[in-house]
Symmetry: C2
Subunit: 207 residues, 2 copies
Amino acid sequence: MSRDKEATRNKILDAALDVFANKGYHDTKLDEIANESATSKGSIYFHFPNKERLFLSLVDQFSDLLEKQTRKAIESEPEGIGRVKIALTTVLETFARYRRPAKVLLVQAMGLGQPFEQKRLEVNERFARMIAEYLEEAIEAGEIPIEDIDVEFTSHAWIGAIYHLVIRWVYTGEPSSEKIVHELVPMLLRTVGHQTEPSDSKPADSA
Amino acid sequence: MSRDKEATRNKILDAALDVFANKGYHDTKLDEIANESATSKGSIYFHFPNKERLFLSLVDQFSDLLEKQTRKAIESEPEGIGRVKIALTTVLETFARYRRPAKVLLVQAMGLGQPFEQKRLEVNERFARMIAEYLEEAIEAGEIPIEDIDVEFTSHAWIGAIYHLVIRWVYTGEPSSEKIVHELVPMLLRTVGHQTEPSDSKPADSA
């Protein structure tokens, strides 16, 4: 894709994110996205065959970002429970930093019918596999105290807890995203037998 | 409400559950519900001002059932971690027994916009409060090893894990609902420091 075309595509995706996050899928009109992105309906159709594909592209874009951030964050950490912890923290912090994409991915993509459900299942499986991979490594490294944990099951349970608290935060602002990271990561690690202190993180006043 | 009217109302709700679970909210027509329930559109409108209210009544009906089953199940158990365990087990078993209402409540009520989100938040807060209540009792009874747990936060994290695994089961049938109950309850109890054995449950052949 040429630079210009890619720039236009990104402008459209940015504007679409705004409009979808504000109005929801059904009430969003491509005209508004064209307006908001200072492009045209023609340009939108050039890049995306229809509203559905545009929406699904946003979901893909955000899940790529989430995975990339997480893979990058664990890079310098040796295999083991440390990676699991960093992966969970990064996923939560990324949701916190990107509240609108979080809303589109976790809330608005639901209940829209087949192709959307398909995509959601695909994204969920992708994250579950990533977390399961780090859990497997931690087991190999002898760092998981609970024997015979089902890594697939565990990672789905974790994802459920993460999604639910992020969705609640998107709607209510409560509890703060800092608190979610601070409390949830040690809580999830306890499910595999890790008793980390919640006071693990930096002290309030940084010296 | 007279007996007859109530019977009709229930017939409509039963049929609506079928049709919504099969077609989703948007593609459901009141005509089909009238057909399926052997009533008429007139009767439907007598009981429910519109499709939205009918759908929301189903959500209420199922959350009432979930709460009633749970309250009944814990009744004979003394306050403490035992109640928490029974409550979690009952919620999971009720979802397992009622797969279609689970689908309507957990999947199809999402992404439908304001009044539906409102209802979902309301249902979530209601269950979170119920679980938080049993957790508070267990703390009072000195049966929660982890100090200073945030019962509201914990119960929402639990609900998230439960919903996610139930939704996944509704879509994929995996893992079996028995496995979900068997693995998830001890896993969630570990988040508050309880190391119960997963082999807690009855043996395969009941003597």
